[in-house]
């Protein structure tokens, strides 16, 4: 069961990144240079997933108490971004900067050390534009998905820059497509 979850999340992460590259290819397929570069990137990406030691062998789960901070970060970032109209960058950066000082409240607390990562991950969900995230309900749902991905991906791609963003992107994309599917049906 644990192995199944482990491999599913790895496949899902590769799939969403390949989809991201494919969407660029679809818009730029007239340029040979861009097409060749994208093909090379996809091959190298696949090579890294298959050959490089990216993940821990033992599946570990992040604590639920830590993952609960993902929706909090997302709602704060959404509020600053869309309600106070500060824009996505300033909103996520403000939330991330404040979160990064939380461990200073009690430097010995292991729990507080883990919060900045969860809050910053949530802040990326809150960066979504109004045309994608119509209201706080969408942000809450997307950040719940992201929190689940954060829990199950603890031993996957540790220390790789952009992992938190990919998890947020996965959460937002799944929520958007679920809404699109149910609205369309």
């Amino acid at each position: 069961m644990k192995n199944g979850v482990h491999y599913s999340i790895i496949v899902l992460l590769f799939f969403i990144q390949a989809l991201f590259l494919y969407s660029i290819f679809r818009e730029n397929n007239r340029s040979y240079m861009v097409s060749i570069t994208l093909l090379s990137l996809t091959i190298l990406l696949l090579y890294t997933y298959m050959k490089v030691q990216l993940h821990e062998e033992h599946q570990e789960y992040e604590s639920l108490k830590v993952a609960l901070w993902v929706p909090i970060g997302a709602i704060c970032s959404y509020y600053l971004n869309q309600v106070l109209q500060l824009g996505p960058v300033l909103a996520a950066a403000l939330v991330g900067t404040i979160a990064s000082f939380l461990p200073n409240l009690r430097p010995r607390s292991v729990y507080l050390q883990k919060l900045p990562v969860a809050i910053y991950c949530g802040a990326f969900v809150g960066m979504s534009s109004p045309k994608i995230a119509a209201g706080p309900g969408f942000i809450l749902a997307a950040s719940m998905f992201t929190a689940i991905f954060l829990i199950v991906s603890k031993s996957i791609m540790q220390g790789v820059g952009g992992k938190l963003g990919t998890l947020a992107f996965l959460g937002v994309t799944i929520t958007y497509f679920l809404l699109y599917f149910f609205d369309g049906a």
Binding site: I16, Q17, F20, L21, S23, I24, R26, E27, N28, V34, T37, L41, L44, L45, T48, Y49, K51, V52, L54, L86, G87, P88, V89, L90, A92, A93, L94, V95, G96, T97, A99, S100, F101, P116, V117, Y120, F124, V125, M127, S128, S129, P130, K131, I132, A133, A142, Q158, G159, V160, G161, G162, K163, L164, G165, T166, L167, A168, F169, G171, V172
Partner: protein, 157 residues
């Protein structure tokens, strides 16, 4: 012109974030968020300082490239790797699809792809392999020097 600015800015932001994270021990989140905060504040208070295109793209490039600098040093071992990942991010950002415009986390996904692609190049991702490479090169150079000295001595005799 704007594409060159994006490339240079993304490479330099990735390096600055990595320095803040690893050398100045600020941690990955603070290193990334602080640089993004500076860029965000500048363009929030001075939106007409540069052209509209640059004012729109620079904060996004800074926060996206800063995610590359969050990589731990045992994943990307040297600054060259960070620079190449930054340039790759700039390239992906410059051609990014309008389809995923406005999706939270899209910049992080582009940064993650850039880092993972760089990790496929062994000399950029592993300190050990680089050290072994340097040792082999040194052994080769010193051995050839020793052989030349030995030959010269023998010829002199």
């Amino acid at each position: 012109m704007i594409n060159y600015i994006i490339l240079v800015l993304s490479a330099s932001t990735a390096v600055f974030t990595h320095l803040l994270h690893v050398r100045f021990k600020q941690g990955p989140v603070r290193a990334s968020a602080l640089l993004a905060l500076v860029a965000g504040l500048i363009f929030h208070f001075f939106p007409t300082w540069l052209s509209a295109d640059l004012s729109k793209h620079i904060p996004l490039v800074v926060i996206g490239a800063s995610f590359i600098g969050m990589v731990s040093s045992d994943r990307l071992a040297n600054i060259l790797g960070i620079i190449i990942a930054g340039l790759l991010f700039g390239l992906i950002y410059a051609h990014t699809s309008r389809y995923f415009d406005g999706y939270g986390g899209a910049l992080g996904t582009a940064a993650c792809i850039a880092v993972l692609v760089c990790m496929a190049i062994p000399h950029l991702s592993s300190k050990r392999k680089l050290t072994v490479g340097i040792l082999q090169l040194r052994r080769m150079l010193f051995n050839s020097k020793r052989k030349t000295n030995y030959r010269r001595r023998n010829q002199g005799m």
